[in-house]
Symmetry: C2
Amino acid sequence: MGKTDTRTLVAETVEKVDENVILKGWIDSIRDHGKITFIDLRDRSGIVQCVGQDLPSVTSESVVEIQGKVSKRPEGLINKNIKTGTVEIQVGKLEVITKAQELPLPISSDGYSIDENIRNKWRYLDLRRTRMNTNMKVRSKVANFMRNWLNDRDFVEIETPILTKTTPEGARDFLVPSRLQPGNFYALPQSPQQYKQLLMVAGIERYYQFARCFRDEDPRADRAYGEFTQLDIEMSFVTQEDILQMAEILFTELVKKIFPEKKISKSPWPRLSHREAMEKYRSDKPDLRKNKNDKDELAFAWVLDFPLFTEQSEEDYFHGSGVAKFAPSHHMFTAPHPDDIELLEKDPMKVRGLQHDLVLNGYEVGGGSIRIHQPEVQSKVFDLIGFTKDQKKQFSHMLNAFTYGVPPHGGIAPGLDRFLMAILGEPSVREVMAFPTSASGQTAVLDAPSKATESQLKELAIKVAADEE
Amino acid sequence: MGKTDTRTLVAETVEKVDENVILKGWIDSIRDHGKITFIDLRDRSGIVQCVGQDLPSVTSESVVEIQGKVSKRPEGLINKNIKTGTVEIQVGKLEVITKAQELPLPISSDGYSIDENIRNKWRYLDLRRTRMNTNMKVRSKVANFMRNWLNDRDFVEIETPILTKTTPEGARDFLVPSRLQPGNFYALPQSPQQYKQLLMVAGIERYYQFARCFRDEDPRADRAYGEFTQLDIEMSFVTQEDILQMAEILFTELVKKIFPEKKISKSPWPRLSHREAMEKYRSDKPDLRKNKNDKDELAFAWVLDFPLFTEQSEEDYFHGSGVAKFAPSHHMFTAPHPDDIELLEKDPMKVRGLQHDLVLNGYEVGGGSIRIHQPEVQSKVFDLIGFTKDQKKQFSHMLNAFTYGVPPHGGIAPGLDRFLMAILGEPSVREVMAFPTSASGQTAVLDAPSKATESQLKELAIKVAADEE
């Protein structure tokens, strides 16, 4: 990179036959044949075989610098399993930069059978395994493809705050005590829902961000504890049809580019009404693959025409009103189907919402909707949810914003972790996250959550309740 | 975008002379000349003049759909101030989509003279002003340029957790009470310092992310309260020289592409030792512009050879040990200059650190260092800071990680908000953020921080101390 960088990457050696090179990386494996030692050297570009005599003793996974000459392997010794299989390095000098003690977990396997707590504790080693390393690189490539695709189409990437107010999406909030306003709390966003709608009022028209979302919900295989990342997209002056087509083109082109080995089983993607999905597949995220053993089959589908409301339960954390009424099945900003507006008065449970769920191989990998942009409709929905006057007041900024020239708008938010899990066929979202939190909320490697000091708590004007019992 | 989208953007009208078009957007201004009305219609692509007779009454900033015919303006009526100045729209039909009431703040000015609290309360309107709208688009372009530049050079974008453990960077943490582990707290990261170093141990070699960082510090013009964004870059097998050259090339190419009107006053960038900067300019971030009134002059500079330690004060929140010793001037993971290792024992205040600060026009727009990768050196630095055994134990995962084959590594983290503020000549970082928090910690538009409910606090096992007094 800089002028002082004389290092050659492992993958570049095939182009440097008979040249002297300096390689740096990890000892992937060692085979000692008496005087002659074979070393597989690993760096970010791959693996290459190095051969030397009377080399200093070195342990696996140590970091070394090797000076040597690239030589062509004879035809019969070519290793077709690695990209550098046509060459090997004749080691002139091997210097140990940092020594590795024995690793606490194996990293040459795929790692599935190793206890997840062990893998998380030494995540920095777990990420060395080929599968995990590849997953990280694929994740980066996918995000970059999506960004460039959207940038090419006039979308503006905008960051919204993490320290914010509760966005009632039906899950439990994480709270952050405020030092400057003792007794008050920020909430971490369950999604940037209100901010992205406000950006439409701001005239941005096409917005996206890779948004970190926070929900204090129990984890599942397809849901990490605490935080996840979604590609948050919002557009003005669009119909639901526009959003569906946009997403379908984006993902189709993404698959073609990043996952050329995968086949989308049906295009255009099947569309099911919620009722149809439930009746036919007993699921609102049906797995429509023809052959569930085909790891390269991708069955995308849309589920539409969800009911706008479901029955409210104790679990609906957003209401808190105690008045059990109707709960939004998506969220409280989803627009009712224009044909069903009158039913809002007469029979709310029959109103369809302009919601769309994106399903891939049986996973819900994204959801969105056309949003309400009429203050009176939004107000009516608040009433149906059972909001008190005070609760409505908490959303007065939205009703207010809609009086200054709001464009019709809507969007979709594919979950990046969930999508990667589905397309890579991984058993859990944690396989596509660098440092996932465990089911008990324990962070990888670092020992959190942990105790706060007395002076921290004092500054924040809070007390730990348990301490007093 | 979709097949159903028949809308023409304002900027496209110049290519559609004599064609019928459908435009959608905001009424930027209206001039009523009796029967004839002139309307400037604004959408994300710009502004176009529309002319019509007997149009329905409409207010400024309302959202409308205009059907009309594009006509070429006669030579004498061409408006050279706008991109669509060669045409105007003969309005056939104007439909009000949503009406705007009178705005609570003007948006046609640059907005500097308006009270910031007013601007933040109606930020979704404030962002409509040309200057703010442009700032948002420039920010998106800059971030995208940086990403693609790094992706093209083998960097992998990796997201690290927001719910994590305190990273002692010398500032106050935000805490998040854990529900699953009552009495324990997550901290929001002051930077992803430990995670990015662990990613180097993981063999990623080249990492970046646009990292959200959180510090509960009093705000200044060049520092927003609460959160900011940095382009977090870390590399293995590099020297400080490699990092400086990488950053210099990245920013030089960025300026050329995104800010072609700007001129970098000296290249290669001047390099000053910390001592030299302080002696010559009485500042560790000197403004080296030749002409401070030239808004297009960019004076980048490096400040190097910082002392590794400064005197520790009460404000150094990371120590908490009460044993006032040495405080890292950058952070506790910065490597001492190799020539000064022996001074760690003899005279720690004389040790230089391998820190580098990136300065632009008198602002520190980035900082970084070569990191310690030897457990014994890291341990020594912990001792000099005055860490107790228990405090050292909190970082045992770092010392431990370094025993499994750690590459020498280092990095740099340009602050995105600060860089944009400096290059755009804005008076505050809040001018380049969509929804900045006020000095008192109040969020834009939304009313946070705010009260939590009793049941929320109970679930989190905390109490508000003030309630009991």
